[in-house]
Symmetry: C2
Subunit: 225 residues, 2 copies
DNA sequence: AATTATAATTAAATATTTTTAATCATGATA
DNA sequence: TATCATGATTAAAAATATTTAATTATAATT
């Protein structure tokens, strides 16, 4: 799996919290930049595209909510709000404005990490499987390559999209229709042909599919252990 | 926009909470099925594929955490945990086991809705834009159609994928490389050609692009108001 | 204003993918 | 087990997409 370091912007006017949280995040393999104010953060995001922003609500000068308000139109980066304990109305306001999550201070560091990973998983897909192996088959969605018994098979984008979906939902049945939707094809027979093509590449014995199976009347499933 | 009703499984052994939350969710346009135990929920998910599960941790019989443990291998559905106030260790354990979010009881109904939408947005993409309009241009990503000044233009999957990405990240610059990655092409010149093709379809004056602009040295951006 | 680098456009060649159709295989059911 | 429905396989035809290359246009820099 690719080693990727998510870049986090930590915005808090309390120096103690900044250094503490930064240290903790660094230990957990994140790259961290800090801002001591919403104003400073606004400058930073002009220059760097962060993967995530951790934002204190209550700050001298502009508040965290102000920051969100200022940028909600142009900012695509997920935000975790740090709120004072019990301030339900602020939390709700923050979420309504577009924050992705919040954490009440004081929080457990472990919980912060979980929430960060949770969000990153969904946005930049840090944990999505791009390279998987089962038995003698290795699928590399990045390189568009399948290696089966040391033989290489190229896959095209169509095949990649289908495999990607199935790999991230193993055991789920996909109808021909839903597969067609995925790749913008509407002829059912065409899906058949694509499945045959795929089986030739990923199955040890394509005539007796073990991984990419048919569910009669319903569609296809990928079984990977 | 398509009218889609997310189907939620609500698992709680307290009849009062079940009916109250169900009613509230119904009012907010969700389809709700309830279970009074983890065991019953396990039966339900065999039959129905839910979009989301709201799961009380503390239940007589199997707990919510037990439920997650039982199904974490095969269950792809996002889970929101309902926890007792202050039970940080349970929250952390739940998130570690794979829950997507939690809410401490008693919670504000409004906050529950926000959290549900937040998760659904990320999983089934309920809020992702599939049909957008600006000026005299309408893009329908479902039908693979662009209507510009009442004239129809078909788009193919390649174009759809690029537009989809840009539409959901307006104002973001995409390098040729990142676009290529999206559609599994690595020749930069090919991206040029595709952009030209796209401009012919979405721009009022393709020679003077207003929406799909070039950022010299960086890539392309979509500006929609 | 001239130079240089980057981007846009076009059309033709090339390559790839989808569709179709015919045939075979398999599973379900009466 | 005979029949019917559904799925698999193949190869060829048709449609579509990508690549290339030559030319033109535009922006940035000296």
């Amino acid at each position: 799996m690719d080693k990727f370091k998510a870049h986090i912007l930590l915005v808090d006017d309390d120096e103690g919290i900044r250094s503490l949280v930064k240290k903790y995040l660094n230990e957990n393999n994140f790259l961290v930049t800090t801002s001591d104010s919403a104003e400073n953060a606004s400058e930073k995001i002009k220059i760097i595209k962060f993967d995530l922003i951790i934002l204190d609500i209550m700050m001298s000068g502009k508040s965290g909510l102000d920051f969100i308000n200022d940028h909600k139109k142009d900012l695509d980066t997920p935000i975790i709000l740090l709120t004072a304990k019990g301030e339900a109305s602020e939390r709700v306001e923050g979420l309504e404005l577009g924050a992705d999550d919040y954490l009440a201070k004081p929080f457990e560091p472990k919980e912060l990490i979980l929430r960060i990973k949770n969000i990153l998983t969904k946005t930049i897909k840090i944990d999505q499987k791009r390279i998987i192996e089962f038995e003698n088959v290795k699928i590399d969605l990045n390189k568009l390559l399948i290696i089966k018994n040391k033989k290489e098979f190229k896959i095209n984008n169509t095949e990649k999209v289908i495999l990607e979906k199935m790999i991230n939902n193993p055991g789920n049945t996909f109808s021909r229709e839903s597969i067609g939707q995925l790749i913008s094809l509407d002829k059912e027979r065409s899906i058949d042909v694509i499945i045959t093509r795929l089986r030739k590449k990923i199955e040890i014995d394509p005539k007796n599919p073990k991984f990419l199976q048919t569910i009669r009347g319903a569609g296809y499933v990928l079984w990977i252990e």
